[in-house]
Symmetry: C2
Subunit: 334 residues, 2 copies
């Protein structure tokens, strides 16, 4: 097989604040030929996630940081172009940690076969991938919504948020989304069936949220942290559950993270605030994917992706997450 | 019966920061004679609690604020001096919401008979009272400690904290207390059997706590909030439980409450932070009191009270809670 040219983005420096172009090193190498038990995979789509910002920092977290000089970590879907494992054939589609590059050479055991005839490939990075799993287990296992309760989700037009809101609707809840801009808010209501949507860029968030939640908040699924977390804490009901899934408003802080000043609302309301990391639910991914695929085929659950083209655009594309420019799951097509 | 002179402290103004003498009005009135179904009770001891500071503020909380002009709310134990209810005789001892005054006239149904031959009267305001109930249910129901786990408690030489630590020891945990001053720390270790004690007024709290918790923190019972909550969040283990019982470091703030900047440790560690209010466990108070009385008689659980004398000292006595001067449960004997 002719040697394949593999474009890559490597982490050059640990960013202070928003990642800058100089925090990345663009390299081109020959793709490494697979050894026994390995696959050579051509990247089809890469998942761009807020969590990537955390992986770029030094220090203990739920997974080790990306090392300086390493190809940037990313989930992806791709096609097998060379197989040294009998369970995979050339042409098979897989999902795995492909990282920000054109080709990945990986142990076959780290790859999951996916079926592009069941759902578009990008769906496996969104509703049927880690994004969907995060929404499913975060909402249902940690948030424990009951029919008739009010569920509020921030980052609601983002990948996790949109799925959280739709699942909450399926479970019979009143669903209020918080998103940036009139277009996203209209999408949440008209396309995804949310009961209300708050544009956090317009007007008094607290006032709007209070109006949209006349019976208070029973579950708040937090993707953003900061001021919105505090506002929601001020509106929770007795025994409310707050799911801490992310804090995108704080990831690029150059000063200390803003802690939730209203946290004593947890005491007054006997409420809980609980963190979640999707990996803990790996033994149940297949069950969640099955149920969500059924909902998709029934037209109850939509998977919207925002696809950016060109591997070389990665540094700018990633920033769309932090400016709130992406609309749905942000995906990079090399 | 001759008219009894009843000294009282009434809330004169809502304090800004620490309560000042002018936030109180001292009044003397005749004690009101009981009507049918009521008791006239002579106060023996009054419970002084950090929560009282919260009751003085305007606004929604877990119970309504004390009204301006009302006698300050307080739990107490006392003796029946006149009974208009067949279930109570003159001379009986009761616990109830007696408030800061020499005499209370209350519906008999709001009073609980107590037995001064089973335990000293003040114990019914401490381990066998709301303080003990708060420690018991907060630790066991919300904290859910398992044998061998590390439990950290702040305000550890205070009323709730001392009981939390002792119950955690009974349950087979490693127990680390945080308290102010060498004397209190020695007491925790030598008298109450804590495994370690950190003097928050001396040295680097984080470093000391890390040394005292070589296996990390599984349960943190928070009575203080502020910096110590943040330090503990930084040392929690996977699936740790943080019980939010109080935040005495923040009650007299004149600026915004300091939220826990390290709250994303909940995410990384899939941990939870949960508030509690003792009233929710009223249907199980009798069971907890029974179990704790048994522990007391077995010598496993000590009840230490810090008794201040003279009703007129109330405004200054209350401040001991916020300066950390009290050593054990603060009690006022009129």
């Amino acid at each position: 097989m002719a040697q394949l040219s593999n474009r890559q983005f490597r982490l050059a420096a640990r960013p202070v604040g928003l990642p800058k172009p100089t925090d990345w090193e663009f390299t081109i190498e020959p793709a490494r030929a697979p050894q026994d038990g390995e696959l050579l995979i051509k990247t089809a789509y890469l998942s761009l996630d807020p969590a990537m910002r955390g992986w770029m920092n030094e220090g203990k977290s739920y997974i080790p940081p990306v090392k300086i000089g390493a190809v940037m970590r990313a989930l992806g879907v791709g096609q097998v172009v060379e197989s040294r494992d009998s369970a995979f054939a050339v042409g098979d589609y897989v999902s795995s940690g492909l990282n920000i590059q054109d080709y990945a050479t990986l142990p076959a055991k780290d790859c999951t076969k996916i079926d592009p005839t069941l759902a578009p490939l990008t769906t496996y990075l969104n509703v049927l991938g880690m994004t969907g799993m995060t929404a499913y287990f975060g909402l249902l296992d940690v948030g424990e919504p009951k029919p008739g309760e009010t569920v509020v989700v921030s980052g609601a037009a983002g990948a996790v948020g949109a799925t959280v809101g739709q699942i909450a609707k399926i479970k019979g809840c009143r669903v209020v989304g918080i998103a940036g801009g009139a277009e996203k808010c209209a999408f949440l209501i008209n396309e995804l069936g949310f009961d209300a949507a708050i544009d956090y860029k317009a007007g008094d968030i607290r006032k709007s949220l209070k109006e949209a939640c006349p019976s208070g908040i029973d579950v708040y699924f937090d993707n953003v942290g900061g001021e919105i977390l505090d506002i929601c804490l001020g509106l929770i009901n007795l025994r409310a559950r707050i799911v801490i899934c992310g804090a995108i408003s704080q990831y690029n802080n150059t000063t200390a993270i803003k802690g939730p000043a209203n946290y004593l609302s947890l005491l007054v309301n006997r409420a809980r605030m609980q963190g979640m990391v999707v990996f803990d639910y790996a033994d149940r991914y297949h069950l969640a994917a099955q149920e969500m695929a059924t909902w998709m085929h029934q037209g109850k659950l939509k998977s919207r992706e925002d696809i950016v083209h060109g591997l070389e655009t990665f540094p700018q594309a990633l920033l769309k997450l932090f400016s709130g420019e992406n609309f749905g799951k942000l995906v990079l097509e090399p």
